[in-house]
């Protein structure tokens, strides 16, 4: 045999043994993993065979996802692949990425607690842009005049439906790109102060705007935003709350009256879409503050199969989440249709908060001021809030959303459905 053949055979042997080694390792890899923590999603499961599935091509498509999702040593390979991908550019002083993503605007519910809280199906798919600057992932904001107007109109409509006797507040929480001290990258995002002003200017006279912006700006050097998550921290929410206290004529309870605690090693919702390992190697702490008053919380949800309304006992600070991946869930225990919090505070004041997940870190700070707090998530709740307000004699309503929600018209539709 000549040299050429030797080399050919060596080439074949190496190729074939690589292919078959991986094939066999793959066969030996257990296929029962349900969730990928790293990616924050459920893994594809082995498809169920049926003739319909086969003919439509669904069976094979699903099998392919199943095969890929349970590939040998997948999570490590995904990490290595990020490192390989980073070779395609040159490192500059700042590590910067811009990522377009499509996500679901529903937070915090993946870790079902023994089936007591099934997923609701009011999921809003959103598209967005992220800036990754060194170890921080930030959402970008684009002002959309029509939708911002729609948001203001929505609040106006709810307020006028509830009548003048119900005080209506609106708090729009800014996101951290607004306060970035790097003008160059900050300019990727539109001005939020202008957008908040635009929305506020479109409110009818009954609406009381809450200025969360100024106190957050004042304390921007503190840990008010996460690096790996799009939410504000509880501290950020606290400063937002001081803005609310000013608007509502309340005296803000000092933070040192709360018992501080933290859940370390948090990789937030938006850390999964980032191409940089820098973010993942520098996780956040979820600091939470236990209110100085007694609270009793009941959570309502709709059964996934029957649609029947059910409830369980929740808690304002839900410590179960300290040990889970979705640590932001420590606040109220995530998102759900309706939460009713009763406190031992001697007052007649009752408030309803219509909120996205920014509300979760905020609501615990309301507990010293109200006897009852109704937390409504319009992405899940399906009943009339007019009835809710009347039946429970609620005197105040607050809209608490982050600035990007003014771009989600389906969110506004969901709210309007609650006053029909």
């Amino acid at each position: 045999m000549n040299n050429k053949n030797h080399l050919s055979i060596l080439n074949i042997l190496i190729f074939i043994s690589l292919i078959y080694t991986v094939t066999i390792l793959n066969i030996l890899t257990p296929k029962n993993k349900a969730i990928s923590e790293v990616e924050n999603r459920t893994l594809a499961q082995k498809p169920v065979f049926s003739v319909d599935n086969l003919l439509s091509g669904k069976y094979f498509r699903d099998f392919e996802s199943f095969f890929a999702d349970h590939f040998f040593d997948r999570e490590n390979l995904v990490k290595i692949s990020k490192n390989i991908s980073s070779l395609k550019g040159i490192k500059r002083e700042e590590e910067v990425y811009l990522v377009d993503f499509e996500g679901q605007n529903v937070g915090g519910n993946r870790n079902n607690e023994d089936g007591e809280k099934p997923e609701d199906n009011a999921v809003v798919t959103t598209k967005g842009n992220l800036l990754i600057l060194n170890d921080t992932v930030m959402e970008l904001y684009k002002f959309n005049e029509d939708k911002a107007k729609l948001y203001a109109d929505m609040v106006n409509t709810v307020s006028s439906t509830l009548g003048e006797n119900v005080k209506t507040y609106s708090l729009l929480a800014p996101i951290q790109i607004e306060f970035l001290n790097n003008e160059k990258y900050k300019n990727l995002s539109d001005s939020q102060i202008d957008a908040i002003k635009y929305v506020n200017d479109n409110f009818s006279d009954n609406i009381i705007p809450v200025d969360a912006y100024s106190p957050i700006k004042e304390h921007i050097d503190e840990y008010v935003y996460y690096r790996t998550d799009h939410h504000w921290t509880a501290l950020g929410a606290y400063y937002g709350y001081t803005g609310f206290a000013d608007a509502a004529g309340l005296e803000a309870v000092p933070l040192d009256k709360y018992k501080e605690n933290k859940a370390p090693d948090y990789l937030g919702y938006i850390s999964t879409v980032n191409p940089s390992e820098k973010v993942n190697s520098n996780p956040d702490d979820v600091v939470y503050y236990v209110p100085p008053v007694k609270t009793d919380m009941k959570v309502f949800y709709y059964d996934k199969d029957t649609g029947e309304k059910k409830s369980y006992a929740g808690s304002v600070i839900n410590k179960k989440y300290v040990l889970l991946d979705q640590k932001y869930g420590v606040f109220l225990g995530g998102d759900f249709a309706l939460g009713v919090i009763k406190t031992n505070v001697k007052t007649d004041r009752k408030i309803m908060v219509i909120k996205d997940s920014y509300g979760n870190a905020f609501v615990p700070f309301l507990t010293p001021h109200y006897s009852e707090i109704y937390v409504v998530d319009p992405r899940h709740y399906k009943e009339s809030i007019v009835d809710l307000v009347k039946e429970n004699d609620i005197g105040e309503v607050m809209f608490l959303n982050y600035i990007l929600t003014t771009n989600f018209d389906s969110f506004m539709d969901s709210v309007l459905n609650l006053v029909k």
């Binding site: 040299n3 050429k4 053949n5 080399l7 050919s8 055979i9 060596l10 080439n11 074949i12 190496i14 190729f15 074939i16 690589l18 292919i19 078959y20 991986v22 094939t23 793959n26 086969l54 003919l55 439509s56 091509g57 069976y59 094979f60 099998f63 392919e64 095969f67 890929a68 590939f71 997948r74 390979l77 995904v78 290595i80 692949s81 990020k82 390989i84 991908s85 070779l87 395609k88 550019g89 040159i90 500059r92 910067v96 990425y97 811009l98 377009d100 160059k184 990258y185 300019n187 990727l188």
Partner: protein, 469 residues
């Protein structure tokens, strides 16, 4: 299923290899290959496998009749019938909605649209089978007597889905007799790995960067961003498609088939004519042999013939106007080169004709990318600085620096530079009649296979661009 998927590399392919090589006899091997090919097709299109089988039965029967009546008018009649049936099938599946909606638009009619969808690979297998019946009619090759062998030719999974368009005449002999030598198999591995590199490492990376700009809000796109986006797409489409052809050629070699080359460094061409001799060679030669020359070639009604061929080339790529425009763009440029430009192109320095050609190609991809023509025009106006779009923005800066090494690598990989270096090393370093650079190929193959696998695991999004056709 695509070759650059985990399920192909680590399930389908290894199983196929085992079954193939434990069958010693060529007939069994053909049956194995046919079964795996049909399964491969059914993986993506379980329903349309019937369209494929039907087309196979019809063309098989007609070819036998063409052969039987060879030399008589009947033979011609059968040949035309088969071609018309084939074109009708692709017409119904691929072009019905396009024509119906255009007729509806022009005549304000209300012809119902079909919701059947497009069988994967129909453009490729239809052209293959047309070349077969015409070649039988021309008596260039005898009709295949065994149905399963013809079906094997038609459905062979190496080229079924994204080409190259293999002619029956080129593989007729190998269907019956093929010898697989270690050096052939080893060459097949080398080609397959090159294809994998092109697809997984280059095309997918370029594709990600391209969509960042091409699919963005055009009113905010910067001029440089537009250029970077379309250059990335230029990279993506070449490496995607030629990578697929490499994998097809490589797989063919491993199983004993020799397919003709489909690409020859098209981006180093110096004229449009040169480009089309290097790009998707199996398609342009199909149109040349079965449309252009029968129409009269350059001897009679030359301009008409060129325009027909290029309109059809455009339409072959997709049932929408932007592809027709893209085809006509090349048709007109070819005519211009033939009549006027060739005098200039012959005289100017080579570097200028390279720049001329690459600009033509890059601009062509704008028509190709945007199915929505108004969007394409808008993009084009940004490229050339009309309108109020900024020249430069941060998005461009970020993507540029994050991809600059990749860009340089991909640009070199579009030329024969790496091949040249390798050949030079082979020449220069010879120790005891042994060429150590050949060993580096083996290590290279292993490395690329591992890296591609890792990247494939990292990439969830992995469709082949040419699937639309």
């Amino acid at each position: 299923m695509v070759f650059s998927s985990l399920v192909f590399l680590y399930l389908f392919f290894p199983i196929n290899l085992i079954f193939y090589f434990i069958s010693k006899n060529n007939t069994y091997r053909n049956i194995i290959l046919l079964s795996f090919s049909l399964f491969f097709y059914a993986w993506g299109e379980p329903f349309f496998i019937f369209a494929l089988l039907l087309s196979g039965i019809i063309n098989y029967s007609f070819a036998l009749l063409i052969d039987k009546y060879k030399g008589t008018y009947k033979s011609k009649l059968f040949m035309y019938s088969a071609v018309i049936i084939d074109l009708s099938m692709i017409g119904i599946f691929k072009y019905y909605n396009f024509f119906a909606s255009n007729i509806n638009y022009v005549f304000d009619t209300n012809i119902g649209l079909s919701s059947i969808g497009l069988p994967i690979g129909i453009s490729f297998y239809t052209f293959q089978i047309i070349s077969y019946v015409i070649d039988v009619y021309r008596q260039d090759v005898p009709a295949q007597k065994k149905f399963y062998k013809l079906l094997l030719y038609m459905s062979l999974y190496h080229q079924l889905i994204a080409g190259p368009i293999v002619r029956y005449i080129d593989v007729a002999n190998e269907i019956d007799n093929r010898i697989i030598t270690p050096s052939n198999f080893s060459y097949g591995i080398n080609r397959f790995i090159i294809g994998l590199l092109k697809k997984v490492i280059i095309a997918n990376t370029a594709g990600q960067a391209a969509t960042v700009f091409l699919d963005s809000n055009l009113s905010e796109l910067s001029v440089l961003g537009a250029w970077l986006g379309i250059i990335m797409y230029t990279i993506q489409i070449y490496f995607d498609f030629s990578g697929y052809s490499d994998m097809a050629i490589g797989l063919g070699r491993m199983f004993g088939f020799t397919y003709k080359e489909n690409f020859n460094y098209p981006y180093i061409a110096k004229s449009v004519q040169d480009f089309w001799r290097r790009w998707h060679i199996s398609l342009s030669s199909f149109f040349k042999d079965y449309v252009y020359i029968p129409l009269g070639g350059n001897r009679k009604k030359f301009i008409r013939n060129v325009l027909i061929v290029w309109m059809l080339t455009g339409l072959w790529h997709g049932a929408s106007w932007n592809f027709i425009i893209w085809g006509m763009y090349y048709g007109i440029l070819l005519l211009l080169e033939r009549t006027l430009l060739h005098r200039i192109l012959d005289k100017i320095p080579a570097v200028l004709s390279h720049i001329y050609l690459i600009l033509i190609v890059i601009i062509g991809w704008v028509f190709f990318y945007y199915v929505d023509i108004t969007k394409g025009i808008k993009f084009m106006s940004i490229l050339f600085g009309y309108g109020s779009n900024p020249l430069y923005d941060i998005k461009f800066e970020v993507e540029f620096f994050n991809n600059v090494i990749f860009l340089i690598f991909a640009a070199f990989a579009s030329t024969p530079v790496f091949k040249g270096i390798y050949n030079k090393l082979n020449e220069l370093i010879v120790i005891n009649n042994y060429k150590p650079s050949k060993l580096t190929i083996i290590a290279f193959n292993a490395l690329i296979l591992i890296v591609s696998t890792v990247l494939l695991v990292g990439q969830t999004y992995n469709p082949f661009l040419y699937f639309r056709f």
